[in-house]
């Protein structure tokens, strides 16, 4: 019998999702969630090439279709008879660049659906009685933008601050399940290439240790999932290569 527990990863095909999966492969089974089926399939075949001993399940799902997320996820677990899930890492997120005046209410619903509420719906499944005794740790992706304002980033700032508040509240309700979040500074991932100009360079130069990598993020996510973090809950870890402590140096 397979004794490895499952970790659920959302945004699994992002650079961070892949870096984390690589670290988890030897120790856990994986359930990968993301919006695009073919990208998921490619990611899994790449992971299987590295390590073929773990079970990797996947489900393509659009988190903006929020009213379906809980049921779709629960049906998936039932269909494959998966009970032993010990962790969730919510990496999925969007960061639309919109000044307040250009935002429409649908934009706000969408960012909340993807950045926070999808994970809320998944957690509500994982704390049902058939799953909750195996659950140990939930980790969210916040951002340094939850702590500082940025131009045209207002929806992102609010959604990530909501994550940090949720983590605090949920850790109290869900103990002994641990709930934590990390707030990264600039992580050099695929998604940053849309800025493709000196914005990223200028922003990076404010980080004392330079911009971070997906592997840097995977390291702390792995730690927070693991038993090494067994006495940590309800916390936000700023992981920003010294960006925030350098704020006064212009």
């Amino acid at each position: 019998m397979d004794e490895k527990s499952y970790i659920v990863i959302t945004g699994a095909t992002s650079d961070m999702g892949i870096a984390l999966s690589k670290q988890l492969l030897p120790v856990y089974n994986l359930i990968l969630l993301d919006i695009n089926e073919s990208t998921l399939v490619n990611t899994i075949s790449m992971l299987k090439n590295i390590n073929n001993t773990c079970n990797i399940m996947y489900m393509a799902i659009d988190f903006n279709d929020i009213s379906a997320v809980g049921k779709t996820f629960q049906d998936f677990l039932k269909k494959y008879n998966i009970l032993n899930i010990s962790g969730l890492v919510h990496i999925a997120g969007i960061a639309p660049v919109l000044p307040l005046k250009s935002t429409e209410i649908e934009d706000w619903y969408k960012i909340f659906n993807i950045n926070l509420l999808s994970a809320v719906e998944i957690i509500k499944v994982l704390i049902k009685k058939q799953y909750k005794y195996n659950m140990k740790s939930v980790v969210f992706l916040s951002s340094i933008y939850a702590h500082f304002g940025g131009k045209a980033q207002i929806m992102y700032t609010v959604s990530k601050a909501a994550i940090e508040a949720f983590v605090m509240g949920a850790s109290v309700e869900l103990a002994p399940i641990r709930v934590n979040t990390i707030a990264p500074g600039l992580v050099k991932t695929n998604s940053m290439s849309v800025y493709g100009d000196n914005y990223a360079e200028q922003f990076e130069s404010k980080h004392l240790l330079g911009g971070g990598s997906a592997e840097n993020i995977a390291d702390i996510l792995y730690f927070l999932l693991s038993e090494k973090a067994s006495w940590i809950t309800g916390q936000t870890y700023i992981v920003d290569g010294g960006l925030s402590v350098n704020a006064l140096n212009l």
Partner: protein, 72 residues
């Protein structure tokens, strides 16, 4: 959308009281700042389904550059 309509919309996006004309230099408008540039990108994206990159916006010098990019 014709040019007149587009210029009206642009006036809205940039929150400018006076009319906008094709030959206007962006740098000379008080309303043209980094937030306005992001509002312009959002407008292109939502209304015209055109993805405008920050680097492209920076290259724009006049209102007619914006019109050209919009394909109007």
């Amino acid at each position: 959308m014709d040019k007149v309509e587009f210029l009206e919309k642009l006036q809205d996006v940039l929150e400018r009281d006076e009319e906008i004309t094709e030959d206007m230099i962006l740098e000379d408008m008080d309303e043209w700042d980094s937030l306005a540039a992001m509002a312009l990108m959002a407008f292109f994206n939502k209304t015209l389904s055109i993805t405008l990159l920050p680097a492209e916006v920076r290259k724009m010098k006049t209102v007619s550059d914006i019109i050209n990019k919009a394909g109007i």
